[in-house]
């Protein structure tokens, strides 16, 4: 068996061990590689930065535990920026597991401790609403008709933050972070297309190619592109967290993937060449 044939049939245990090492080594010894902020993240940041204090943001936590490592850090950075700017945040979940992610994110933000924010006045969590686009249309159409209690069961009628928020006309920005293509598209359909609202979206990197046409056509004002976008936001907001730690690791591990792809292709061509001769 030639060296090329051995390389094409590399055991998965070896590949996975190398992948693990490519993550563990830079995690233990950070290289501190420079971070180049992407335009899509910069646009997300600028869109929120341009909002005056007390503007209302409808924020959808549209992901679950699987998406948390990629999207959670960006969600935390986004909330830091919003609380820092004294925006009013109405948080909801169109993903079933979003209700489980909400406390994790809030533990990272600590709005009461860091910003003196008050639940019910500066932010509220209205919980999971089933139906995806039906839920979006309902919240933007008539929030109080659809939702009567917050996630904890407290009546929303007496909450100052929702006193003047009846629907799309009273919301200045829709922001979402999601692992679902339906949710990512849904907010563009229901918020931008129906009400011409400002929308920013955060998705997994694998979804970026699908939703980028909405950004290019001005329907999305900014995109948080997975863990890379999260690192950008952490950098821009001045709240370094898990995503910036991940930048070194991703650079290292992605380089390994490039090497694997190159070696795999060269080996395949060399093996074929040897076979045909």
């Amino acid at each position: 068996m030639s060296i090329w044939e051995k390389l094409t049939s590399l055991p998965r245990e070896i590949v996975m061990t190398l992948v693990m090492l490519s993550i563990i080594v830079p995690a233990l010894n950070p290289l501190g590689l420079p971070l180049m902020t992407g335009q899509m993240s910069q646009d997300w940041y600028d869109t929120i930065d341009a909002l005056p204090a007390d503007s209302v943001v409808l924020f959808d936590v549209g992901y679950g535990s699987g998406g948390y490592p990629s999207l959670g850090p960006g969600n935390i950075a986004a909330f830091h920026q919003m609380f820092d700017k004294d925006l009013k945040i109405v948080i909801m979940a169109t993903s079933l597991e979003g209700t489980l992610m909400y406390p994790l994110v809030m533990a990272g933000v600590n709005p009461e401790g860091n910003y003196g924010a008050v639940y019910g006045e500066d932010y509220v969590f209205i919980g999971y609403i089933a139906g995806t686009q039906t839920a979006m249309a309902g919240v933007l159409g008539d929030l109080h008709d659809l939702v009567t209690n917050d996630y904890q069961g407290n009546p929303i009628s007496g909450m100052p933050i929702l006193d003047n928020v009846g629907g799309a006309d009273d919301i200045d920005l829709v922001a979402y972070v999601t692992t679902s293509g339906d949710i990512a598209e849904g907010w563009v359909y229901q918020a931008y297309s129906q009400y011409n609202m400002a929308v920013v979206g955060g998705t997994l990197s694998m979804m970026t190619t699908s939703i980028k046409p909405y950004y290019d056509s001005g329907q999305l004002l900014g995109i948080m592109d997975g863990i890379k976008g999260a690192a950008d936001l952490e950098f821009l907001t001045g709240h370094p967290g898990d995503a910036i730690v991940s930048s070194d690791i991703l650079t290292f591990s992605q380089t390994l993937v490039l090497i694997f792809i190159a070696v795999g292709n060269i080996s395949w061509f060399m093996t074929r060449k040897g076979g045909s001769s």
Partner: protein, 207 residues
Amino acid sequence: MVTMDPQIWLAAFFTIAATSYAFRDNAVFKFAEYTFIGVAAAHQIVMGVKNIRDYGWTKIMEGQIIYVVVFVLGIMLYARFHRDYYWMYRFPIAFLVGNGVGISIRAAIHSDFIVQVSETARTPLIAGDAMGTINAIITFVGAVTAIFHFIFTQEKLHVGAVGWIPKIGRWMMLLAFGASFGNTVMSRFGMYQGRVVFLLREWLQVI
């Protein structure tokens, strides 16, 4: 110093168990998989009941009797499990499909078709800087050639003097698939490295 927090130990165990599949299928992975399915199903049931209570039952208690219709439609969904009353479940399905299509179709046509076409047509080929111009040309060539590729009713568009146009369209799409693949790899690594960092920081506390 390894943490003594039992919650983190539990999370660490299931992280290692779930990722052990990357090396080989094994009993510990299966245990983690079944546990996750069980917990996720239980969570769905709880949230489903909560939704029925918050967005259905509460409304009826407030005197909005129209929500009884929603409950009846919901119960009719279960008719599919009965041999004789199977047909009844088609009504709520028809309602769901009609409702979903009605809510999204106008916006979908606007966002995915009208705005995309108008913005693509409106983008000037000569932009303010060189990169912008290159991007605009790639977008224009990619859009036109990819559309050509999907015109199947005119065979002559795929052969002869203009046969190269759909070929370029195919290459453009392959480039897009490559970009999509690269992003997918980054997404998966982003997820995995998040758990590895959790193990090193929260569980082993070495970083």
